[in-house]
């Protein structure tokens, strides 16, 4: 009896193993001629809802938009955990599959991967990359989103000319994103004649930022620029309100995130921010239907950027001989974030608009 059981177990094991091998072989055969795209995204250790929206969009949008195309796109996902170390390790793993292009999510991984991207000379789409300079440091990096420079120019101009605010405070996250956003903003705002009363910062994981909030309020600003994300960003809004701040805020698109909005208890109502002109209603109806069924809500900014990534990639693929040049060839291209065209620095320069947060968490266009 014992022998029969052991024999059965071995047979089942061989069948499972063999089946798996056969499946992998079939997959490889099917994708033999597919265009391989290596994707370094934080699949763990980050905001998993955000990652889910990005990955879902890449998959669904590709299926819907390439349905009538003669080629097939195969994504190879690797977990970058939103750290430089893990992103490098993910990139190196992907490199063994010789992808035709890469997609990298966020500022921190993009910074870490820059030398590898320059070394491999494979075009890389930097999805949701805010840094003002990064794409200009590599001829193989192409941004898909509005750059910090484009955003701060628009919001600095709005603050100075439309809000008529000539003095303000800045409260930012202490990392590359916060520093870059704040520095760029100050550059344009002070050039217009504005004055920064005080700049305070918090570490990304901080949940008690009362000390910084008190120092800011001590300067009695009528406007505070909130440039950041993470727990400290939420705490900053709440703890400024708790200390009686009644003035205005300007910020970035972080405020539109549903999870953020839930945590800031409407303290950010009325906040102005600059953002790309994302048009959900111009997305493929089939994509929207499938996205809503899977995620349960309309596509947010990261889903839109992922959608544009697929769009841009398909456009670049029209150049059959040189994919990298294919990106540079993209000019006057209509996307769901407006008409874009890549310059020599890999910047798409999509249109930027000013929006204001409403009490229900929705945002209203204030200035186009």
């Amino acid at each position: 009896m014992k022998r029969i059981l052991v024999g059965l177990f071995v047979v089942v094991l061989i069948a499972v193993f063999g089946g798996r091998m056969w499946y992998l072989h079939q997959q490889a055969e099917q994708n033999k001629d597919a265009i391989k795209i290596g994707v370094v995204v934080p699949l763990s250790g980050f905001d998993e809802n955000l990652t889910n929206r990005v990955v879902t969009t890449l998959k669904i949008a590709t299926e819907e938009l390439t349905a009538d195309k003669p080629y097939k796109i195969q994504y190879l996902f690797e977990d970058g955990r939103y750290t430089v170390k893990d992103s490098i390790s993910a990139f190196n793993k992907l490199k063994t599959s010789n992808p035709d292009a890469y997609i990298v999510f966020g500022d921190l991984p993009a910074f870490g991967l820059l030398p590898l991207i320059n070394e491999t000379k494979v075009p890389t789409i930097a999805l949701a990359l805010g840094d003002s300079q990064l794409p200009s440091k590599s001829p193989y990096m192409f941004r898909v989103c509005t750059s910090t420079t484009d955003l701060v120019k628009k919001i600095a101009d709005f603050v100075f000319h439309d809000m008529k605010q000539t003095e303000m405070a800045i409260f930012k996250v202490k990392n590359n994103y916060g520093d870059d956003f704040s520095n760029e903003f100050q550059k344009y705002y002070t050039a217009l004649g504005g004055k920064i009363l005080i700049e305070e910062s918090y570490n990304i994981g901080d949940m008690d930022v009362r000390a910084q909030a008190l120092k800011i309020l001590d300067e009695k600003p009528q406007l505070i620029g909130m440039f950041g994300f993470g727990p400290g960003y939420n705490a900053a809004f709440n703890q400024l309100a708790e200390r009686g701040y009644k003035g205005d805020f300007i910020t970035d698109h972080t405020v539109t995130d549903e999870a953020v909005w839930k945590n800031i208890y409407n303290q950010a109502e009325g906040t102005y921010f600059a953002i790309g002109d994302y048009r959900v209603d111009q997305m493929s109806p089939r994509y929207l239907e499938r996205y809503r069924a899977k995620i349960g809500s309309d596509p947010d900014v990261f889903a839109v950027l992922s959608y544009v990534t697929v769009d841009v990639l398909m456009k670049a693929l029209e150049n059959k001989t040189d994919l990298n040049q294919g990106f540079y060839d993209i000019q006057n291209f209509k996307t769901v974030m407006g008409i874009i065209g890549y310059d020599k620095d890999g910047e798409p320069h999509p249109p930027v608009i000013i929006k204001q947060m409403q009490s229900n968490g929705a945002a209203k266009v204030i200035k186009e």
Binding site: G45, S201, G205, E242
Partner: protein, 293 residues
């Protein structure tokens, strides 16, 4: 000047919270000789227990607070029975127990992240009422934090001095082998220490979670602050832990005032290094005799 005073008030509130956490760490470290890293995990557990009872199960705050304390006591008892006591029975070295404690902390942190996600969870959805005393603002939750934690710290200090069980628990740190020799119930005393430690972490953790929310990766920073307060005040001095906690918190406030709030954690490390190098017995710790050195 108002700004400095306001920051110092915040420092006092923070000091009371840290004092409670320091007791939670110090009791286990002094009496059981365990570097209780799992306390960071306990801190996270408390926050998520409270979040579950208030925000997910919609229980009233007092009932949720009571259930949170109960759940924390049970978690502490499980930790002692399944991890610390078996190692003690095997007479494992303190390094091994510390590693096991670190393992517990990582397991708790990752399990919570798996179940609840990595985002911040807020318990309170309204702005806290603010009271103004001579131009200085204090929120209601800050008042609760100070009053509850400072009271708990003082009451436990008195109990350790007067109550025989607590006296034994304290003395166990000096001569652990004498406890069974004298016919005292070692396991029960160990359970008592873990229970008190669990309660003392539950109070600040629940209050902090209510105040600023909770996320799965905050445990280690609070553990670090608590342990620094213990070493700073003096490992063998209960009141020293409180003194260490308040000085640490006030130093952090002064750093916020003069520099920026982002540098406050640096102060913790500087104080830790300073104490370990120049005053290993702590601020009010007993100096070693020449032959002990």
């Amino acid at each position: 000047m108002i700004l400095l005073l306001q920051l110092l008030i915040n420092g006092l509130v923070q000091g009371a919270l840290v004092a409670c956490m320091a007791v939670a760490f110090g009791l286990v470290y002094r009496s059981l000789r365990i570097f209780h890293i799992a306390l960071g995990g306990m801190f996270i557990l408390v926050g998520y227990f409270f979040y579950t009872f208030v925000a997910l199960l919609h229980l009233s705050t007092p009932i949720a607070a009571g259930l949170t304390l109960l759940a924390t006591l049970i978690a502490g008892a499980i930790l002692e029975s399944c991890v610390y006591y078996p190692f003690a029975k095997k007479k494992s070295t303190s390094g091994v127990v510390m590693l096991a404690s670190l393992g517990v902390m990582i397991i708790i942190e990752n399990t919570i992240a798996l179940l609840f996600g990595n985002n911040v969870k807020s318990i309170s959805v309204d702005l806290e009422p603010t009271y103004i005393f001579y131009g200085l603002k204090v929120t209601r939750i800050q008042l609760y934090e100070f009053l509850i934690c400072a009271s708990a710290f003082v009451i436990l200090g008195l109990l350790i001095r007067k109550n025989p069980y607590f006296k034994v628990a304290w003395a166990m740190g000096d001569q652990p082998r004498l406890v069974p020799v004298m016919g005292l119930p070692l396991q029960k005393i160990r359970q008592l220490i873990i229970a008190v430690s669990s309660l003392m972490i539950a109070l600040p953790a629940a209050l902090i979670a209510y105040d600023v929310g909770i996320e799965p990766h905050v445990g280690m920073s609070y553990l670090l602050t608590a342990s620094v307060a213990v070493f700073f005040g003096g490992i063998d001095k209960y009141w020293g832990w409180g003194l260490g906690a308040f000085i640490l918190a006030l130093c952090q406030s002064i750093v916020s005032w003069k520099f920026s709030g982002e540098w406050v954690s640096m102060v913790t490390f500087i104080i830790l290094i300073f104490v370990l190098l120049f005053k290993p017995s702590g601020l009010i710790g007993n100096s070693k005799r020449l032959e002990e050195k």
